[in-house]
């Protein structure tokens, strides 16, 4: 069954804000309704992630890595001479290897998704929280459909602003996919209900993922023993939630490639229905 497109919203169209007059009901018909049985075939059958803009908030992406291919744009959040943070185009690539690894995972599952790198790591430890918030704010402003965040902060002073950004993303249809912690610590943004939080399972199939009925970790993706893209065109065998996260981000890119009008909560429902432990996941 295919999605039913009833109405395309115009970019600037004014929508009812705080109430819904009777004559306005026609204007808010929803563009997608989920079928009675959401299957993987319905969700992403035939999709390559084409047309989906994915942002990777990490240590940068190495240019011309054979497992990553084309990177649409690379920017970095840097502190200017006046001390203010700014987002500038960047040609330094990846300072650690990690962002390249995440990009490679997304490319392997959603080969035609558009990748953009926002470098928020690697410039030193101090001030990292501000840089991350700034990079995330930029990504939301740019309207990427998916933002991969294989990182978190434990600093409570950032929580309120991070929460506001996550909510803003949610309402702007920017899906945040964030690594959960497998340690007994409070960290963010993965604990927020507005994001998709990801832990690891031990299986080798990139499309195997599980819904966790006991949150805060909501999904488990492939995160064990992966050969990921790394610096200097190479690969590295790695394990960690950091790599499970881009697997789920890439599956989201496949779904959005086929159903671009899904909102974050609809997409989360699709993930739930198509998880390997759910009926539609077979």
């Amino acid at each position: 069954m295919s999605s039913v497109v009833l109405h395309e919203f115009e970019e600037d169209e004014e929508l009812p804000a705080w109430s819904l007059p009777a004559e306005a009901v026609d204007r808010i018909r929803v563009p997608v309704t989920l079928p009675e049985q959401v299957t993987r075939e319905w969700a992403w059958g035939g999709s390559t992630g084409a047309g989906v803009r994915v942002c990777i908030l990490d240590s940068g992406i190495e240019l011309d890595h054979p497992l990553v291919g084309k990177v649409e744009r690379s920017v970095a959040v840097v502190r200017g001479e006046d001390g203010e943070l700014q987002v500038l185009d960047d040609d330094e690539g990846d300072l650690c290897g990690h962002g390249t690894a995440c990009a490679g995972v997304i490319r392997s599952v959603a080969p035609d998704a558009e990748l953009t790198s926002v470098r928020v790591l690697g410039a030193g430890y101090t001030g990292g929280g501000e840089i991350m918030l700034n990079g995330l704010g930029w990504a939301i402003e740019q309207g990427f459909q998916i933002v991969n965040m294989s990182l978190s902060t434990t600093r409570t002073k950032y929580v309120e602003r991070l929460h506001e950004l996550a909510d803003r993303a949610y309402f702007k249809r920017v899906l945040l996919v964030a690594s959960a912690h497998n340690m007994p610590v409070e960290s963010f943004p993965w604990r927020f209900a507005s994001v998709i939080s990801v832990g690891s399972h031990e299986e080798a199939d990139p499309l195997t993922f599980y819904y966790n009925p006991s949150p805060p970790v909501e999904f488990f993706g492939r995160g064990l023993d992966l050969d990921v893209a790394w610096l200097d065109g190479g690969t590295l065998r790695c394990t960690g939630n950091s790599f499970a996260t881009p697997h789920i981000a890439a599956i989201c890119a496949l779904v959005l490639g086929k159903h671009p009008d899904l909102t974050p909560f609809q997409l989360k429902s699709v993930l739930y229905q198509t998880a390997s432990n759910a009926r539609g996941g077979a």
Partner: protein, 210 residues
């Protein structure tokens, strides 16, 4: 408990060694449990933005203590900034990393488990376990176990740092040291009030430095 309060607590001046032993014991147990060639703890020096070898068990035990490298770099730096544990099983294929490790430490591990050391909301450093037996395939349960260990190492590291700061405060290297020494001479009730005030000052200074 604030540093200053710790400074006047009985025995704190001698505690440095005890805390160091605790940290050393932690890395030794970590090394032994994973059957690894080495385990080490790095402390973040926020002012210098560097990671410092604070405890080492096994390979490099004699030479690496006190050695430093930039906190934003490499796998340990990444683990620290993202707060995410990472397991790497064929490090030699990261030529950039292995070259710099070889140059700085003379020892190039093949595999590494690295986990951030977190106490409350602070990231204090990184625990690394190097070169598990080649036949031991990593399981997620091991990563969880490492996380539990990291918790213990983080507490030991926190105690060590507090004792050091306490000593600095009394020895006159900290900004509030003269006041702390005066406060330490006061009668009980007055001393409590003075420490209360100093704690508040400390918080203000710490927040402005953040």
């Amino acid at each position: 408990m604030s540093d200053l309060e710790a400074a006047v607590a009985a025995g704190v001046l001698g505690a440095d060694e005890a805390h160091r032993s605790l940290l050393q014991a932690t890395v030794e147990v970590a090394r032994s449990i994973f059957g690894a060639k080495a385990a080490s703890v790095f402390l973040l020096d926020e002012e210098a933005d560097e990671l410092v070898f604070e405890a080492v068990a096994g390979e490099g035990e004699g030479e690496l203590l006190g050695m430093r490298f930039p906190a934003g770099n490499g796998i340990a730096g990444w683990v620290l900034t993202t707060r995410q544990p990472l397991v790497v099983d064929d490090l030699s294929s990261d030529t950039r990393w292995s070259r710099s490790a070889a140059e700085s430490t003379g020892y190039v591990p093949k595999s590494m488990m690295a986990v951030p050391l977190l106490v409350e909301e602070r990231a204090l450093g990184v625990l690394e376990v190097l070169d598990r037996p080649p036949e031991s395939r990593v399981r997620l349960a091991e990563v969880d176990l490492l996380g539990l260990f990291a918790n213990q190492a983080a507490i030991a590291l926190d105690l060590l740092q507090r004792a050091r700061r306490a000593r600095e405060a009394l020895a006159g290297q900290g900004r509030l040291a003269p006041l702390a020494r005066v406060a330490a001479q006061l009668e009980d009730g007055e001393r409590d009030a003075a420490f209360e005030l100093l704690r508040a000052l400390e918080r203000v200074l710490a927040e402005s430095a953040d």
